[in-house]
């Protein structure tokens, strides 16, 4: 019947520390990776910015097109980070992998920050172009709903103190959100065409001519590396946090 035997991941005889083998290996890997990755990120960003500001100004939008070089990567990262959280959510729910909880929880604040920055830079770009900070443009609206989901996830982690349950609850919301995002994107596009004539300025201009495209790619890559660095650092912190609380509980119990 319920012969879903779950082999104990740890060897019973030795102390509990063996259970950390998996995360300990990750910690060593993270320590080695963070340094070079950080250098790569800053190098890419520096090159990207140089290229971005040396490229000719866009004839229509003037200097405000420079905002695109961070706004578009932020939008891309908002989606990319949510995707990594969705994969971690699968790891938590289906393979019950402890590192998956850690990865999802660590990526959450970073994703929320990038999404918020995407909205802020979008508004700052919209002001000179469309004369209004907030415009119910289809893409901005979808990113706004994504931001609401990020906030919902953070609320869950704040409301549920037991880390195991909070991770599972957040994983569920992440997956349901992931299923829903394409539907939201579609419905917002539909809603946008229904209520508003096609916006005059499309967000990324008629077509991005190569001189702008190349720095954009470099910037996007740079920010992605930055995310990886921050994510690894956040995961490391989360593992230390959980290890500390597990240790504290064990000490309490051994105290008898």
């Amino acid at each position: 019947m319920s012969d879903a035997a779950k082999p104990a991941e740890t060897d019973i005889t030795s102390g509990g520390w063996v259970a950390y083998a998996n995360p300990a290996r990750f910690l060593r890997l993270a320590d080695r990776l963070i340094g070079p990755l950080a250098l790569l990120a800053f190098a890419l960003l520096a090159v990207g910015l140089l290229k971005a500001f040396s490229a000719p100004e866009d004839y229509q939008q003037g200097v405000t097109v420079r905002i695109m070089f961070i706004h578009v990567p932020f939008a891309w990262l908002a989606m990319f980070i949510y995707a990594t959280m969705a994969v971690s959510a699968l790891g938590t729910l289906i393979w019950r992998h402890p590192l998956a909880d850690v990865s999802a929880k660590a990526a959450l604040p970073i994703g929320a920050t990038f999404t918020a920055l995407c909205l802020i830079t979008g508004a700052l770009w919209g002001r000179p172009m469309w004369g209004a900070y907030w415009v119910w443009d289809a893409r901005l609206t979808s990113v706004f709903v994504l931001f609401l989901i990020y906030l919902g996830l953070m609320a869950i982690h704040r409301a549920i103190d037991d880390p195991g349950r909070a991770a599972r609850a957040a994983a569920i919301v992440t997956l349901v959100g992931a299923i829903n995002l394409p539907i939201i994107k579609f419905s917002v596009d539909w809603w946008n065409t229904l209520h508003q004539p096609a916006s005059v300025f499309r967000m990324d201009g008629p077509t991005i001519h190569p001189t702008l495209l190349w720095p954009l790619m470099v910037m996007a890559l740079g920010f992605t590396c930055l995310f990886l660095v921050l994510h690894l650092m956040a995961m490391r912190g989360e593992i230390w946090n959980r290890r500390a609380s597990a240790l504290a509980r064990r000490l309490a119990r051994d105290a008898g």
């Binding site: 520390w17 003037g62 970073i110 802020i120 770009w125 956040a234 912190g237 946090n241 051994d254």
Partner: protein, 59 residues
């Protein structure tokens, strides 16, 4: 450049906001990790001192 190009303040503002936000985020993460690590080491010292008398193994 004689005068700053039009709307320059928006470009500056968006870059400034991004820098501050990302800097703040990195700081929060780094400090959080350091504090957690310190807490673990403190607990380990606590455990090891008790280990002497209760014989609990500490690898």
């Amino acid at each position: 450049m004689d005068s700053l190009p039009e709307h320059f303040e928006f470009v500056a503002a968006s870059y400034a906001v991004s820098l501050v936000a990302l800097g703040g985020l990195a700081a929060v993460i780094i400090i959080g990790a350091r504090r957690a690590r310190a807490r673990v080491e403190a607990l380990e010292r606590g455990a090891s001192s008790r280990a002497v008398d209760t014989g609990a193994d500490r690898t």
